[in-house]
């Protein structure tokens, strides 16, 4: 029985949702974090982190193969009982909501700091949530199309960054392993935060039309994320002098400020706003997934009223309080920790348990 019959997404949409949620606003912060933790060899850390993430995501895919027509919640309901699945649904709802809220607040803060300094935060939040509603209310198909379109619309971003080639010094990349291999390898977990979001695979799997392409899709998604991050990281490493990197916030945007086009000056006002397409991929799919989990929990087929309540609630909440940058960073740290357990560890454990149960059941049948 196909519960999710009319909401299908193509492989390319699958890839772009996963990599979109991962990249979203990470590429602004990741170079400084990598440099601080791992020095000029930080990009190696990135590559290693990608490999680990790919493995974790493949674990999720293997898990979902056990239940091709349901999400992970349905899987849990089958293997662990309804109440465990309910608890998991609550946890997923909270996680995705947290993810979406942080992405939204971060983008609002960036806009407020760089483009609209005097507009109240809740107005910016409201403006950002209107297209969210338009897109997320129509289901995963539209979210998938939006993710696809946003990623293609953002393909110009690397080319703009290449315009700073005059300011690049490749010597800054040397020495690569100044303090040896240890910091490079030890800091791999700190990159996990920037790959978070692939847990959505567990929810996207039933909607994927060609399920045999799921593995390929996952690998492609993480390759895209890796390439994007690697590009910006190496560029930042070549652009900033080593000491300078610890003095500047939001390296990606700072680099953008030095771009000068012949017909436009100081283009970062324009480009930061254009980044919203890719930033929005951190909250639009996750708001949808939150509403989806909630509707699974309450047993409703239509997630739209829940979506409206969620979004309206966010606007009202931000009228009273909008976290500052430092709070956002602290909340992100917390999210990194939770995410590591949630997205990296939990599926592997779950996979192990499911395999074990199947093995026991098979043995039981045979005997």
């Amino acid at each position: 029985m196909k519960k999710y019959a009319f909401n299908e997404i193509t492989t390319m949409q699958f890839i772009f949702i996963i990599s979109g949620i991962a990249i979203s606003y990470g590429f602004i912060e990741i170079p400084s974090v990598l440099y601080k933790k791992a020095g000029a060899g930080g990009w190696i850390t990135l590559i290693l982190g990608t490999l680990v993430t790919m493995a974790a995501n493949l674990a999720i895919v293997q898990l979902m193969k056990k239940m091709p027509d349901g999400t992970i919640l349905d899987l849990l309901a089958k293997y662990a009982g309804k109440w465990t699945a309910r608890v998991a649904a609550v946890a997923c709802t909270a996680y995705f909501l947290y993810f979406a809220y942080l992405g939204l607040v971060y983008s609002t803060r960036i806009i407020k700091a760089r483009v609209l300094q005097e507009t109240p935060g809740f107005l910016i939040v409201f403006m950002l949530l209107v297209p969210t509603y338009v897109i997320a209310r129509s289901g995963i198909r539209i979210v998938g199309r939006y993710a696809e379109l946003s990623m293609w619309l953002s393909v110009w971003i690397p080319f703009i960054f290449l315009l700073v080639w005059k300011h690049l010094h490749w010597l800054y990349l040397l020495p690569v392993l100044a303090d040896g291999w240890r910091p490079v390898v030890a800091e791999v977990p700190s990159t996990f935060y920037y790959f978070l979001g692939f847990f959505s695979t567990a929810f996207l799997y039933p909607f994927l039309i060609k399920k045999e392409k799921a593995v390929l899709g996952v690998l492609c998604a993480h390759m895209i994320t890796l390439l994007a991050y690697l590009f910006i990281t190496i560029l930042c490493f070549m652009f900033f002098s080593p000491h300078e990197m610890s003095t500047v916030n939001q390296l990606g945007i700072y680099m953008l400020k030095s771009v000068e086009l012949p017909f436009l000056e100081q283009v970062e006002g324009l480009f930061i706003v254009l980044y919203l397409f890719i930033f929005s991929l951190s909250w639009i799919p996750t708001y949808y997934l939150t509403a989806f989990c909630l509707s699974w929990l309450t047993g409703r087929a239509d997630h739209r009223p829940l979506m409206r309540i969620l979004l309206a609630g966010t606007v009202v909440f931000s009228y009273f309080y909008l976290p500052g940058f430092n709070t956002v960073y602290r909340l992100s740290d917390w999210q990194a920790k939770v995410g590591m357990g949630f997205e990296y560890a939990a599926p592997v454990v779950l996979l192990g348990w499911v395999l074990l149960r199947d093995a026991i059941r098979n043995r039981g049948h045979r005997s």
């Binding site: 483009v115 209107v130 297209p131 897109i135």
Partner: protein
């Protein structure tokens, strides 16, 4: 009996449950009595004895039966009636195996609703004393025009023919392009009082049966008095009439309609309307013009890209100007900034007011020019454009730059080949201007995001509207942003969801010298 017995076939008004209340419903199955006098009385009663109805009593010479020929003058071809009906009936002395009436379409009608309907649609009805069936003859001859050059969709190189107001002629115009067995016309009737014939044209082996079913259902469900124009039908069966974007393509040209039919789409012809609906339409169909295929592919590609560029310019430019001069002036290069600053320094209004004022003025000039007869219309355009624009600038009400922006935007919107899309652009432009006036570039972008979000969730007869961008389908790009050379367009577009996709063989196989 006599004459009528030579005819078979019953005249059926066509299945339309929604037709009829009051008189027509009551008489739906009432049959003729057989007596000429009482039938005539009943007929005059039903039709309320209109002045233009002519009742010609006659005696059929060959059989001696009394008969009456009833028709509405003005709707019939009088010459045909005189020559092919009255003359043989009155003069032929013998009726052999064949009937003397030499009209092509002849049917029998047994009940009043069919009979009255036939008269009202330009047929002639022959009532014969003693017969319980009337003879209905197709003598339609209302005033109609020749297919002339379509007014709105002119083509430089294509056929100078446009659809006319009679559906049979329009069907004929389409059949001329596709004399193929698979070309099918599915007929429906719409409107309680109008009883308009609507035809869906498609290629049976190519078009998607699900879309056909959807279209038929939508048209079949309509409950209206009458449909005057294709535009009304479009709005009634559209997926989302609240959207600024049109979801069905309206065309006046047979060659354009046939081009879409050949790609696997459906064309809906409406009687009495010289325009035809084509669906399912995607966003890029509104940027395609029949001339693209007659000119060479490189220039056609260039013009296609120009159209997309023009679309973006016409929705974004005034909003961008407002955003940049009110919020983000650091974007402007220094020398331009000094120039614009000097211009704006002498103007009392904010850029938003300026922009709205100029756009509204332009819209008014445009509307005024459309309805006026040709010579006055042109004068108004020139007066409005040049004189008013110049005078406004010199009076210091609007800055030069604003006039340039508005003029450029107007030119850009004229490049778009489809009128509905131009209308959409006008609406979208105003909304984006408001968004930009409130939040600058950010507002402009959020407006664009909403537009994008709306477009990707829009569907046209179940097909995604944003294709080939929203569900990204690279193979369809061959005929969207670029117009690939003709030999490369070997498959029908995916957006039509066709059953059979090959439309060309290898016309330039590799290794060809």
């Amino acid at each position: 009996m006599g004459v009528l017995s030579l005819f078979g076939g019953r005249y059926k008004r066509g299945k339309n449950r929604n037709n009829g209340h009051s008189v027509a419903a009551a008489q739906a199955d009432e049959t003729l009595s057989g007596s000429l006098e009482s039938d005539l009385d009943r007929l005059c009663e039903l039709l309320a004895k209109p002045e233009d109805m002519n009742v010609r009593r006659l005696q059929i010479r060959a059989t001696g039966e009394h008969a009456a020929l009833i028709y509405i003058e003005g709707l019939v071809d009088a010459a045909e009636i005189h020559t092919n009906i009255l003359k043989p009936l009155l003069l032929e002395t013998e009726i052999g195996r064949q009937s003397p009436i030499s009209i092509g379409r002849v049917e029998k009608a047994g009940n009043w609703s069919d009979t009255t309907s036939a008269i009202l649609k330009g047929g002639s009805v022959l009532l014969v004393d003693g017969s319980r069936e009337a003879l209905v003859m197709g003598t339609q001859g209302w005033p109609q025009r020749d297919p002339t050059d379509p007014k709105m969709e002119t083509s430089l190189r294509g056929a100078q023919q446009g659809f006319v107001e009679t559906i049979q002629q329009n069907i004929a115009l389409i059949r001329r392009y596709l004399p193929n067995r698979e070309l099918t016309f599915k007929n429906l009737r719409v409107g309680r009082r109008g009883d308009t014939q609507v035809s869906i044209a498609y290629l049976a082996d190519v078009a998607n049966p699900d879309i056909l079913q959807e279209l038929t259902d939508r048209i079949g469900r309509l409950d209206v008095d009458l449909i005057i124009n294709t535009g009304e039908l479009a709005e009634l069966i559209e997926d989302n009439p609240y959207s600024p974007f049109p979801q069905l393509l309206v065309t006046e040209r047979p060659d354009a309609a046939v081009s879409h039919i050949a790609q696997g789409r459906f064309a809906v012809l409406v009687d009495r309307s010289p325009t035809v609906l084509v669906g399912p339409a995607s966003f890029v169909s509104f940027f395609q013009n029949i001339d693209d295929y007659s000119t060479r592919w490189s220039i056609a590609t260039f013009i296609r890209m120009l159209r997309f560029l023009a679309f973006f310019i016409s929705i974004i430019l005034p909003a961008f100007y407002i955003a940049v001069t009110s919020f983000n002036f650091e974007l402007i290069p220094l020398k331009l900034l000094l120039t614009i600053g000097t211009f704006r320094g002498s103007v009392p209004f904010s850029p938003f007011i300026e922009a709205v004022f100029m756009e509204l003025t332009l819209e008014m000039i445009r509307e005024a020019g459309v309805r006026l007869p040709a010579p006055i219309g042109q004068t108004v355009g020139i007066v409005g454009g040049i004189v008013i624009g110049q005078a406004i600038v010199q009076a210091g009400l609007i800055s030069n730059i604003m006039v340039i922006v508005v003029a450029f935007t107007a030119i850009a919107s004229f490049i778009l080949p489809n009128l509905d899309m131009v209308a959409a652009v006008r609406i979208i432009r105003f909304s984006l201007m408001i968004a930009a006036a409130m939040f600058g570039i950010f507002g402009l972008l959020v407006g664009l995001m909403i537009l994008v979000g709306h477009m990707i969730s829009l569907e046209s007869l179940g097909t995604p509207f944003g294709s080939p961008f929203a569900p990204m389908r690279f193979s369809d790009w061959r005929d969207t942003l670029v117009r690939s050379p003709m030999w490369k367009l070997t498959r029908r577009p995916l957006s039509a969801r066709v059953e059979q996709a090959d439309r060309q063989g290898a016309n330039r196989p590799k290794g060809d010298g």
